[in-house]
Symmetry: C2
Subunit: 215 residues, 2 copies
């Protein structure tokens, strides 16, 4: 298909597609003449992912480029590809190891992973320097510093719930062909975050209603 | 306590506390002399919440002020207070009703709430114009537009998981005295979001390892 059709089918304007091409976020089309190129379904899929990352996930162009690079690392198992791509997603501020609360947060995170059986003796996928682990440590540090509950016991039910959610996530991913799965996993990780946060607030409203409406 | 002690105990600098006082995010202390004021535990609690909203939740000052105002609305039941405060939290872009995908997303959201038994015939807590409902509709619209799975059946397991999480959330909140619960609920809603997202990515890594590492 030509650029105009790629734009129509993806809902992304031609100007934006050209910008993504210039920034290397979208692979160039097959040149037909000096001014015409041909695009295919793979361009369409990639464009969908770029939109998910940039417009929904609000990733800066540089981070998006890193995520996309991870999709094409050679010689990685599908598991490693998935991990590399999802871990390239932004994960907020790194833990501040000059803060004494950080050391205690690391112990809490380790105790939590131990409790739920996610520890791998420091090996991937749960290595202590992995971005999601760091995200968790930073969040626990903040909770500790502000004095809110965040012991390993407090966090355990949340980890269990996320274990079930990850099964649902991977079930959705496995509906796709193997060569599409990494792209879909990245997109769904980002796109389902607002779904989950919206559902959590609705569920809180219901649970609060159930407990307190009689007050 | 004096301003210096409030600063030491909260970990918030005196300059920032003065800024919060000027912006009306923190109630003034009890005046002792023209230049000295006395602060109490309630100031400390409020300061903790303001930090959670502004520094962690990245709320603009105006949104934080709205959330705080909701905490003190008179004559509301505890349930309504909780709802009002949590709903004043930012919830992303409102659904774009000029987009035909929005109408279809609303139907999906309604079907989902019906399936999980959260429908209240348009009454609170799940009124169709509530912020969390709008958050959900916007997220479904995006998924639909980008062609990713988001039928009511796809979303149902996520809603069930959030139902269990909301029970855990309210259990944490009920550890506090009734007059602290609304503040705590707002803080935990915001502060637990990065915890949940970090745990989800760790759980995805584990589940992907389990399914694909043999590849």
């Amino acid at each position: 298909m030509r650029l105009a059709e790629l734009s129509a089918r993806s809902g992304v304007s031609m100007a934006t597609i050209k910008y993504y091409l210039r920034e290397g976020l979208l692979q160039p089309g097959r040149r037909i003449t000096a001014t015409l190129a041909e695009y295919d379904e793979e361009h369409l899929r990639r464009l969908r992912l770029v939109r998910a990352l940039i417009q929904v996930g609000r990733l800066p162009v540089n981070s998006a480029r890193e995520v996309l690079a991870a999709l094409h690392e050679e010689g990685l198992s599908r598991n490693r590809q998935l991990g590399t791509a999802v871990w390239a997603l932004p994960h907020g501020p790194a833990p501040d190891d000059t803060d004494p609360a950080t050391a205690s947060a690391r112990r809490t995170a380790d105790e939590l992973l131990e409790r739920v059986g996610w520890s791998h003796g420091g090996e991937p996928p749960d290595a202590p320097d992995s971005p999601p682990y760091q995200m968790l440590v930073t969040a626990i540090t903040t909770l500790t510093r502000l004095g809110y509950p965040c012991s390993a016991a407090d966090l355990e039910p949340y980890a269990r719930a996320m274990e079930r959610i990850a099964v649902d996530d991977l079930n959705l991913v496995e509906r796709y062909a193997p060569d599409e799965q990494v792209e879909v996993a990245v997109a769904l990780t980002v796109l389902y975050e607002p779904v989950l946060m919206g559902l959590r607030r609705l569920a809180q409203a219901r649970e609060s209603h159930r407990r307190f409406e009689a007050d």
